[in-house]
Structures are given as C-alpha cells and as structure tokens.
C-alpha cells in the first residue's frame, strides 16, 4: 500500500500509526459502507429475499416511481415531519427554559418529565394502543366524551395521534438539550437586563432565544432528520394504517421488502430515503450556518 510509508513516517514523527483506527474502520466498511453500496446495487435487481438475485435494470425503479403508494408515503413522511416539528419544537424550548430555572419544584418536575426516555418505542406504542382504546382507555376512564374516539381506526385522526405520541416520546429528549443550552447562558446577561428593567418576555426574546441559536439548530436538525427514523413506533402503533394513512417512507420500505417480498423495490425506496436524509442534513446545515456539529460534518 502506498499510504503505508507515510503512515509509518507519521508514527515516528509524533502521533501513533493509523492501525489503531483499523478495527473500527473495518467494522464500519463491512457493515455500513458495503450495505450502502449494496442498497444502490440491489435497487437495480429483482429479489424476493430467498431465491437468486437477478439483475433487472430499472424495473424496480419503474415500479417504485409509478406506484402511487410511494408518493403517498412521501407525503405522509413530510406531514409527520412538519407537524411533529411544529408541536415538539416550541414545547421542548419552553420546557427546557422552564426546567433550567432554579426553583426546587422545577427540578423535581424535570425528573418526572424525563421518564418517557426510559421506554423503548415498542413499549410506548403498546402503552398508547391500550390507552387510546375507545372502550377501556383514557377516554372512558376520564369520562370525557371528546376523548372517546376510535383514535387509531379513523384515518382523519390517526396522523395527529401519531404526531402526539411522537411528541410524548421525544419532547423529553429535546427538553434536555434545551435545558443544557439555557444553563450555559451567562447569568450576567440576565442580571444586566434586570437592571435595565427588561421584563420576562423581553428577556426571553432578547437574551434566551438569541443565545440558544445553536441549540435550536441542533435540536431542529435532530427533529427533522430523526423523523425519517420513526419506524418502530409507527410500526407497532398503527402498522401504517388504517389504509395507507400512516405508512411513512421507512415503514413503506420495510413492508415492501419483508412483507411484499420485493427487495428490489424496497432497495430503491432505501436509496430515496438516504438521498432525502443526506439532502436534509446538508440543507439544514447550510440554513443554520456554522455551528460546532455542522462544522465537524463539513469535513465529510
């Protein structure tokens, strides 16, 4: 290898040789980079998951791109991404500021707020399935007629139920990020504002928000890119239904590959998922300007 001599020279100069990075690199190449190339390759084949893989040109792509379910899955993904961001972002921001306050009761509440973080997505989905039952769930329990609905069976409601359950599971995590961000704001800024007579709202708008700029970018990026990974929660909660109303892209990929046994089409959907994820990450990074995470990503 040509790189060998330069590695060895570097080792003599100061730092260690590159071989220390080799085990991690091998793992990553075999189980992440090769599959990444594999998903592109498989999208040009037809395979049922059992028999031989046959090269099949663009037929999987033709299937995927002409199937109205794909368009619907993209639309559902976009809707869930948008609504879950609109719900989660303000709540997490306000809760983060709230829990960063010094009062004892706020610290106690924060301990309870973070409980959903301990549950797996499967556990959350199963709990809410029981909870939303129109006969034995929360609605009849609290005797609130509005809450007694077939939440998961009504295709007009189910998307918002999914958004709510996503918020229930993930707001705590983003609250934690915001709490950390708020705690890093220098107290002197608030003291100065206090002396200047700035009220609470003004302090929030003029100190807290601008100081949280990078936290907001980080949290928002995670929310948006993360919504491409809401697979297990929705899989257990609704299975993509009723009909196709909550069948978002990752779920559509799974069902196409492992239930309809069309691995070629599922791979094409995987490629679309990767392109969207990468595009969103780059876009958000550009929108947000340079922050610590983004500048590290820029090397890539």
């Amino acid at each position: 290898m040509a790189a060998d001599s330069s590695i060895r020279r570097a080792a003599r100069d100061a730092g260690p040789s590159g071989w220390l990075a080799l085990p991690a690199l091998v793992f990553f190449l075999v189980f992440a980079v090769v599959p990444l190339a594999g998903v592109v390759f498989l999208s040009f084949t037809s395979w049922d998951g059992l028999r031989e893989i046959r090269l099949d040109g663009l037929s999987s792509w033709a299937t995927v791109l002409t199937d109205p379910v794909t368009g619907n899955a993209l639309l559902v993904t976009a809707k869930i991404m948008f609504f879950s961001f609109m719900v989660q972002a303000p709540i997490s921001l306000l809760l983060g500021v709230f829990t960063a306050g010094g009062q004892k009761y706020r610290a106690a509440l924060a301990v309870l707020y973070f409980l959903p973080l301990l549950l797996s997505s499967a556990a959350v989905a199963i709990a809410f399935k029981a909870l939303l039952d129109p006969n034995f769930g929360l609605g009849p329990g609290l005797q609130v007629p509005f809450l007694i609905q077939d939440w998961l069976g009504n295709s007009d409601l189910v998307l918002f139920v999914v958004v709510f359950v996503i918020a229930w599971q993930f707001v705590p995590f983003h609250t934690l990020i915001y709490q950390g961000g708020v705690r890093q704001i220098p107290t002197s800024l608030y003291e100065a504002a206090e002396i200047d007579g700035a009220g609470r709202v003004r302090q929030f708008l003029n100190i807290t928000l601008p100081q949280l700029k990078y936290t907001i970018i980080t949290s928002s990026t995670l929310m948006v890119v993360g919504s491409l990974a809401y697979f297990d929660l929705i899989f257990v909660l609704t299975g993509g239904g009723p009909g196709y109303s909550t069948r978002l892209l990752p779920l559509h990929m799974y069902l196409t590959g492992f239930k309809a046994n069309d691995m070629g089409a599922a791979s094409a959907l995987g490629v679309i998922l990767i392109v969207i994820g990468l595009g969103l990450a780059l876009l958000l990074q550009r929108l947000g300007g340079k922050n610590r995470n983004a500048s590290q990503l820029e090397g890539a």
């Binding site: 220390l20 189980f31 306000l94 707020y113 769930g137 100065a192 980080t218 297990d232 990503l297 890539a300």
Partner: protein, 300 residues
C-alpha cells in the same frame, strides 16, 4: 453578543427590579413566581404521567377487573398475576438476550472506537483524515435505510436468527457517533502529557490505556450508556434479523406478547412495565450519568 448589548430600556422601567445580584440566583425571573410557566409545567406533567399511571394501574388488574372497573381507577384488589404470567412466558430469556446483545455490542464498540479516536486525534496523515471523514459522513446518513443489504449479508453468512446477527451491525452503527464524542474529549488532553510519556519510552498502546483512558473516563462512560440505550431499545434489527423465541430480545418480545396475549391487556402492559424496570432502576441510582448518556451526541 450584539443582540444583548442593544437591549432597549422600556420607558416604564421599574426601579424595584434593580436588585443586587445574588450569587445563588441563576435566572432573573426568580424574583416573581412565573404563574403561566408553572401552569404549563404542571399541565405537561399531567400529559407525561397519565399514560404511565394508566399502564401501571392496569397492569395490576385482573382481566375481569379490567373490563368491569373504570380504566383510570386503581384496582379494587391489586394482583401480580400478570407479572407472573409474563415471567412464565420466557421473559427472563428475552431479558438475558437483551443483556448479551447490549454488552456484546457496547464493549467492542467502545474498544474499537476508543482506539480509532486516539489514532484520529494523535495521528497524522491522509489515512487517518480519510477515516475520520468517513465516520463523519456516517453521521449524516440514515443507516437504517440499508437493512435490505444487511439482511442479505447476514443470511449469506448463515448468521440469520443468531444474537451475533444483531451484534455485528449494531457495533458498526455505533462507531461514528462514538468516535466523534471520544475524539472531541481526547483533544482536551494536554499534548505535553503524551509527549512526556513518549520521552519516557512509552508505546502508543501503553499511552492509550494508561493516559488517554483515565483522562477521558467520563466520556467513555457517557458514550457507553448512549450506545447501550440505543441497542437495548432497538427494534428494527431484531425484527428483520431474528425469528425464533431463542433469539428474541425485549422490545421484540413486547410486540410478540401483544400478539400472544391479545385481549389480555393487563398482561401486555405488565410486560411493558417489566421491560422498562431495568432502565428505571438505572435512572434512580445513576440519573446524572444516564441523562448525560442520553444527550451524549450533543453535549460537547
């Protein structure tokens, strides 16, 4: 920050807020109780606690009680029969599988990531830079979109339906974020320490374990917890790479319990409680480490 120096002074600036800064005061708004914030805080507590309360209370009911009593009321005669039923249904085996997969992933992942982080921080040359950039790229790509080629590789390697099938790709997926966080922390270790050890004739291997590891121990623990939580709660790999009860892990077992017990909702919810219990114990005894582990990717 420009935005804070330009804080406009409202004309009706009250004098009373010009309190002398107290060392224990963290937020200016501490002086007056924030009623709106408090109200919102308690409201959110309700949103978080009600589902958890429902799950726990229901898991203590027998099936007749579940159908007969108000869902939100505690059971007239609490019973642990549901827990017994879950435990009798091989829960312990699924628990052990989860422990094996989690430890089997986290320990090797930490080991190889730590070595790679050391090589990246201390090493020079194209190979090391290239490796680092590859890992950073891995952060931006939704890796779960590659499940189909991973499924293909695992079946071809005759690893399908083994715990190793879950461990190998999980290690690879854990590497990018682990290397990023560990290398960020390792950069803070003063160079002089490495140089003086080098002068004493220490090898890289010795410096790695006798200097770098002790100096970055909190980061190693944080990254370990972060990865452990992800693997412990992981659902997608077990769903596509395992099949039999022998290799079932906890999140998947919740899903299958749901199918097996079907209408026995109290038993299903008892399995949810039991599966969450280990993390709850961890949360009680080591809340700080757990919380920092949760936000590991974003705290530094």
């Amino acid at each position: 920050m420009a935005s804070t120096t330009q804080l406009p002074v409202p004309p009706e600036a009250p004098v009373r807020t010009a309190a002398a800064p107290r060392p224990d005061v963290r937020r200016g708004s501490r002086f007056r109780p924030n009623l709106l914030g408090g109200l919102g805080g308690w409201l959110w507590l309700g949103v978080i606690i009600l589902p958890i309360y429902y799950v726990v209370v229901t898991s203590l009911k027998n099936q007749a009680g579940f159908f007969a009593t108000n869902p939100m009321l505690p059971p007239a005669e609490p019973t642990l029969d549901n827990y017994k039923l879950v435990l009798e249904n091989d829960f312990v085996r699924y628990f052990a599988n989860s422990v094996i997969v989690t430890l089997g992933t986290v320990i090797p992942a930490l080991f190889v990531s730590f070595m790679a982080a050391y090589a990246i921080v201390r090493g020079k040359g194209r190979f090391v830079n290239w490796t680092n950039n590859l890992f950073l790229l891995g952060l931006a790509i939704p890796l779960h979109a590659t499940i189909i080629p991973i499924y293909w590789m695992i079946t071809r390697a005759h690893l399908y339906d083994t715990l190793l099938a879950l461990i190998l790709p999980s290690i690879a997926f854990a590497i990018p974020v682990s290397v990023l966080i560990l290398s960020n922390f390792m950069r803070d270790v003063p160079n002089e320490l490495f140089e003086s050890m080098r002068l004493d004739g220490c090898s890289d291997w010795a410096m790695l374990w006798r200097l770098a590891l002790p100096m970055t121990k909190p980061a190693v623990i944080t990254v370990g917890i972060y990865n452990a939580l992800h693997v412990w709660n992981g659902f997608l790999f077990p769903l596509i790479l395992t099949q039999s009860p022998d290799t079932r892990v906890l999140p998947l077992s919740l899903w299958t319990f749901q199918g097996e017990f079907s209408v026995n909702i109290p038993a299903v919810l008892a399995s949810v409680v039991l599966a969450t219990l280990p993390l709850l114990v961890l949360y009680v005894v080591a809340r700080r480490q757990l919380i920092s582990g949760l936000t590991a990717g974003f705290s530094k």
